[in-house]
């Protein structure tokens, strides 16, 4: 009796496998004969966000802001896709190629995780312009966008050092990876060079092998709560949407300050409840870079090569909305001009 079941199962399985293996359907790329944009009358912009996507009030939203501006200014058509933590390289590549295949140009990968997949996609779609945020891809049709986050973090460190009352400040990193280490290094240096007596506590939400620390507000909240309980009164978090949890925790304690990251978090509608606790935000103007990339394609002169957005070009900086750092403006401006002139060299690694 059991044999019959087994034979039936094996039959179904092999039929299914045969169906799959013979690759009976056409390729998903066959349907569209044009690769790249042939219809130049209307620009179509494809964006592949990092984990967290639009609505993280931080890194991805900064890119989204640039996209929205481009949409308003040029009337471009927009398609937005978002990464998952379960993505493989093949998934990311497919996402970018789906966009390129449907005639989206430029195609923008937000986040360093797209580095490999953009390399592959750029080769397959040489007529499409790609852009990668936070990494460098060496190809003729790729705009590599990098930021000097350590410089804005340095300024955040100066602000934290001047605002702490208990001489204890904290840094929350989303994931312990080199990109986030840059934020920490700049922040530590900014604090130490303003007031060496201040103690900086660092906590990463997840180790470098687990990227979920960028999209887990509960973890951010718990980490911030722990720091607050230890008497830390200024917390800078560079943790994607996890940072929202940290801001929420800080808002629960009067006198404590949160420093936001990437977007101007004081102005984020989703964080409006906590905005009186957001001292400032270390801006990473992905929006400017995204807007530049779209505009360059629209103007017929696509940006390619590596573009570093630094403090001198206002690619990174400190937000002033809320007016909480107006009283220390002179010190911040001084630090900024020293960084721009090169008198202060900000480190990118913690050692």
């Amino acid at each position: 009796m059991r044999r019959v079941t087994k034979i039936a199962a094996a039959g179904i399985a092999s039929a299914a496998l045969a169906l799959t293996a013979t690759a009976c359907g056409s390729s998903s790329k066959d349907s569209d004969t044009t690769s790249g944009s042939s219809d130049s009358s209307k620009l179509k912009v494809g964006v592949a966000y990092d984990v967290g996507g639009r609505g993280d009030h931080s890194f991805n939203d900064s890119a989204a802001a640039g996209l929205d501006k481009a949409k308003a200014d040029f009337g471009v058509e927009v398609k937005e896709l978002t990464a998952k933590t379960s993505d493989t390289e093949a998934d990311r590549e497919q996402r970018l190629e789906d966009l390129a295949d449907a005639g989206y140009n430029p195609v923008i990968g937000v986040g360093f995780a797209y580095a490999e997949s953009i390399t592959a996609a750029a080769k397959k779609y040489p007529k499409t312009t790609f852009a990668i945020v936070d990494s460098v891809v060496d190809a003729k049709n790729v705009d590599s966008i990098v930021f000097t986050e350590e410089q804005s973090s340095y300024l955040a460190g100066v602000a934290a050092a001047l605002k702490t009352k208990d001489n204890k400040v904290g840094f929350i990193g989303g994931v312990d990876i080199p990109l986030i280490n840059k934020f920490e290094a700049g922040f530590r240096q900014g604090v130490a060079e303003t007031n060496p007596k201040i103690k900086v506590t660092t906590q990463y939400l997840t180790p470098g092998s687990d990227l979920s620390g960028f999209s887990d507000p509960a973890k951010g909240k718990a980490a911030a709560q722990g720091m607050l309980d230890n008497g830390i009164d200024v917390i800078y978090s560079a943790a994607g949407s996890s940072g929202n949890g940290a801001i929420e925790a800080v808002a629960g304690k009067s006198g404590a300050w949160a420093i936001g990251v990437d977007s101007d978090q004081h102005e984020q509608p989703g964080l409006a409840k906590y905005k009186d606790s957001i001292l400032t935000s270390a801006l990473k103007n992905v929006n400017v870079a995204v807007y530049d990339a779209v505009k360059s394609v629209k103007d017929g002169a696509p940006l390619t090569g590596t573009h570093a957005y630094d403090l001198a070009k206002d690619g990174v900086g400190l937000s002033t909305s809320g007016g909480f750092i107006d009283d220390i403006k002179s010190q911040l401006d001084e630090a900024k001009s020293k960084i721009v002139s090169g008198d202060i060299k900000v480190k990118t690694t913690v050692k």
């Binding site: 799959t20 690759a23 998952k84 493989t88 390289e89 093949a90 580095a115 080199p178 470098g208």
Partner: protein
Amino acid sequence: MKKIDKERVLLAIAAPVLALVAAFVITALVLLATGKEPFGAFGTMFDYGFKSDSQVEIINKATTYYIAGIAVAVGFRMNLFNIGVEGQYRLGAFFAAAVGGAVSLPGFLQIPLIIVVAMTVGAMWAGIAGVLKTSRGVSEVIATIMLNAIALSIVGYLLKDGRLGHLDEAGTSVSTTPLPSSGHLFNFDMGEDVGQIYGFVVLAVIIGVGYWFVLGRTRFGFDLRSVGLSESAATASGVSVKRMVVTSMLISGGLAGLTGLPLLLNDTHAYGADLFPAGIGFTGISVALLGRNNPVGVALAALLWGFLERGSGRLEFEGYDKEIVGVMQGVIVLSVVIAYEVVRRYGLKRQQQKVGEELAAQARTKKEVTA
């Protein structure tokens, strides 16, 4: 005899079919509730899923899920719940990548070396839970889930610039030394637009056959299943339960260690945080449940999972919420568990009825004879 056969087959097929139908109906309701038309979504998924390049990708995904599923299934057959496949897979893949990147041997030695390292590391990691269970009575569920967290931290610690990792040019991500070309496994090239099927799929099939053979055709497999069915009966018949627990944890972990290798040997050729997706170990649990620990069933479940995941990206492209696939996957697993129970009870009832009828018939004939 023949009639019972048919019914058994019907019952065996009824459960998964029932589960899938229920899952689709529930998902359709969810789609309707979000104000979207459900058939368009299913149409998109099927349309896209049957494209040739999608099929290649589905097979590749399924290869990984299958190995994870079999790793979990080995434990399930013994009533051991190895939730630690995730950690074993990460650790196995990481050390395999590190060792593979450090040495350069000819291919016929390099690839087996990488495979052995991955299996050994995975087995050792799972073995910790096995030993803890037999020597200290720690539940393997608790032990393996804690070991997951530790595994992630170990990998995170070692995967740093200057330790076993190397910083990329842009200074934003780290990965291990890439494998030399002798460590690249062959792929089945299906053409420019279609893509490549991982050569590791061959090993996955071998693993499946091996699983079927060892469990169904050897004394060890018999012992393992008997421990799963009844520990006391197995002990009475002379099986050392403790030894079986440790051994099956080692096997489960060894297989779990292999889970990352299709990606490593056929695709990424290095370990990096963004290269090895999170959650494969947990997918393995779902796939093993869905496939009822049967080597063919798990394969079908793995393919189904690959198909659903492949379709989810397209759903987002077409303007649907891609989370809908997550809902569908969850509902499928729940439906499967429920459907099997329903079908099992129905089968039991049918059996009882039949036996009752037969007994009644016997009694009747007896009466007639005596009368």
